[in-house]
Symmetry: C2
Subunit: 210 residues, 2 copies
């Protein structure tokens, strides 16, 4: 397998964490999405949305979208429950993540890194407000004392939500200000083989606002 | 089963379309999310994010998030392929939808209906720009002549993406301006038992900007 990857992308981090925790061999192809390398005809053929991560299978077929990659790789492992309702709860947190965490924290964090929060203050503020609401949702979800998002077992939902929730403080939405969320982040970081290797944004993002 | 539902919500529309197409009996509980009825302790217990749709099973357990409901209900039916890679492609379009279509078209459409596009013009414009990009992605995904998003078979990915893609014109992002997207919408609407019963926003949303 081959992972089209970007070290500074939280979406790519999800795939990297899971590949390591499952002990899977995977070649990595680093793409500079910040310089448009993912928006070429060649990469659009792998993923019509022109983003990373994309997982390429040995037969050449590709799977885009971090959530789809996590579900594909985790099938048949303890990180994706077989029980139909438990699995639905994993899915629910993963859809919530794309809609309420990635679309807020990841998006605002990129604007801030590139200095565009000053150019688009209202759009930035809208994302930050919604990021706070998303963290409050996480806190409610964890408030019954469960160890992980979908129950007492660590699943790909935890990986998916961790990726951007853990950097909320970068936009002023600190997840560790929420008691249960902070404890959950700590538990995720303590799972076997967990490595957070999220890289800082490259200099050409932060040095020249675009 | 019981569906906590709102007639004017595209996310709820997804569940309604699938329930009808699968011929499943389901009681409906209409919640006025626009008046905060989904943000009560009682409903937070069903879904910590305080939204609809939520599916309540006969044993009282609940499944929130439209995508999770679609995957739960479609399991074992032709609308969710058993093949692992085909299923990953269904998942990919569904995650894309939550991140790039729901977060743009649905969000901007609500702002416009409530008159808040004039109060938050920059946030509104940001969502419209990204809605256009999402429709361009759909067009690229469909440009190889496939009949449906994940291939030649109609799946829950089509239901998920249809729900808000089909109302893009409400915010000036007309999906039918894209040849393949327009033809795909028409094919989705022609599937057996397809009914689009999305209601207009209620008067208290449109009459009193909030």
């Amino acid at each position: 397998m081959k992972l089209y990857d970007q070290p500074a992308s939280g979406n790519c981090l999800k795939a990297r964490i899971l590949l390591r925790q499952l002990g899977l061999d995977c070649e990595t192809v680093v793409m500079d999405l910040f310089r448009g390398e993912t928006r070429t005809p060649e990469h659009f053929a792998r993923h019509p949305d022109g983003r990373v991560p994309v997982l390429e299978l040995d037969d050449g077929r590709t799977i885009p979208e971090s959530g789809a990659i996590l579900l594909y790789l985790a099938e048949g492992t303890p990180l994706l429950p077989a029980d139909r309702v438990a699995r639905a709860h994993v899915h629910a947190w993963m859809f919530f993540e794309q809609n309420q965490i990635e679309a807020t924290i990841a998006s605002a964090r990129f604007l801030a890194a590139a200095g565009r929060d000053r150019e688009q203050p209202e759009a930035f503020a809208d994302k930050v407000t919604r990021a706070h609401a998303a963290l409050a949702t996480l806190e409610r979800g964890l408030a019954d004392g469960r160890r992980f998002l979908a129950g007492d077992v660590y699943t790909v939902a935890d990986i998916a939500v961790y990726a951007y929730a853990h950097v909320g403080a970068d936009i002023g939405a600190d997840p560790r200000a929420h008691e249960h969320v902070g404890a959950w982040l700590h538990r995720v970081e303590g799972t076997d083989g967990f490595v957070n290797d999220l890289a800082p944004f490259p200099d050409h993002v932060t040095a020249r606002p675009i």
